[in-house]
C-alpha cells in the first residue's frame, strides 16, 4: 500500500517532470519556419518568385565549417535595371541569416563568392532583390558530414 502510493507519486512526479522538460527544450537550431520569418523580414509582403538566381554549392561537404558558396543573379546591371541585394538563408543553422550582399549598378555583375558555415545537412536559400522591387529565389541542398559549431575550443 505504502509502496504503491510512492510508486504512483513517483510516476506522477516523473510525468510532471517530463512535461516541464518538454516545455523547456529550446531548439539549438533554427527551423524552416524561422527561416520563413527571416525571409519575410527582408521581402515584406512582396511575392518571391522562383528563378533568375543561381546558387552554386557543393552537393556534399566534408567540413561544415567552410562551405564554398557562389551566388549570382541574371541582370544587365544598368541604372534602370540592377540587382539591389542578395540575401542568403539557412534552415537549420542556429540563426537563419547568413549574409546580405548589397550592390548598385557599378557592381557590373551580381555575382559573389564566399565561404559559409553549415550546422547540418540542409537546404540553403538565396533571395535576389531587384531594382524594380521584385524578389527571386532559389535553393540548394547540401549534405554535411562534419557539422560546424560542434567542436570545442
Amino acid at each position: 500500500m505504502d509502496r504503491d502510493t510512492s510508486r504512483r507519486a513517483f510516476l506522477q512526479a516523473a510525468a510532471a517532470g517530463l512535461g516541464i522538460a518538454a516545455i523547456r527544450v529550446v531548439p539549438v537550431h533554427a527551423t524552416p519556419a524561422a527561416m520563413d520569418v527571416a525571409i519575410r523580414k527582408v521581402v515584406g509582403s512582396s511575392n518571391v518568385s522562383k528563378g533568375r538566381v543561381t546558387l552554386e554549392l557543393p552537393p556534399l561537404s566534408e567540413n561544415g565549417n567552410t562551405v564554398p558558396l557562389t551566388v549570382s543573379v541574371e541582370s544587365p546591371m544598368t541604372q534602370a535595371e540592377h540587382v539591389r541585394a542578395i540575401h542568403i538563408f539557412t534552415e537549420l543553422n542556429p540563426q537563419p541569416d547568413v549574409v546580405s550582399f548589397r550592390f548598385g549598378p557599378r557592381a557590373g555583375r551580381a555575382r559573389v563568392s564566399t565561404r559559409i558555415r553549415l550546422a547540418n545537412t540542409q537546404t540553403v536559400t538565396a533571395i535576389g532583390e531587384l531594382s524594380d522591387g521584385s524578389f527571386w529565389s532559389t535553393s540548394a541542398a547540401v549534405v554535411v558530414t562534419l557539422a560546424a559549431c560542434l567542436e570545442d575550443a
Binding site: 565549417n65 567552410t66 547568413v98 548598385g104 557590373g108 559573389v112 563568392s113 564566399t114 558555415r117 567542436e151
Partner: protein, 106 residues
Amino acid sequence: MANALVNVPPRARRGEIIEIKTLISHPMETGYRRSQLGATIPRDIIRLFVCTYNGTEVFRAELHPAIAANPFIVFSTVATESGTLAFQWTGENGFSATESAEITVD
C-alpha cells in the same frame, strides 16, 4: 591590426568588369560554441564589409555568424576611372580594419 589581403587587377580597360578578391584573418566566433569548461564563448564577428571606389560605395556585405572564419569575399565592379579602391571591415569588440589598392584604367 588584422591581416587583410586584397587582390585587385592593377590595370584594366575602361568599362571592364573586374573581379576583386578579399580575405581577412578573423576567428568569426559564433557565440554558440562552448569552451572545455562548458562556458559559452562570447560572440565576436565582423558585421560589415564595405568597398568604395574613389569614395563611392560599390559593394557592401552584412555578415552573420554563419560566415566561415577568415571571411573570404569575391565580388565585381566596373573599372570606371583610375584611382583607389578602399576596403573596410567593421566588427564587434571595436574591430576595424582597412586596406586599399590602386588601379590604373586606360
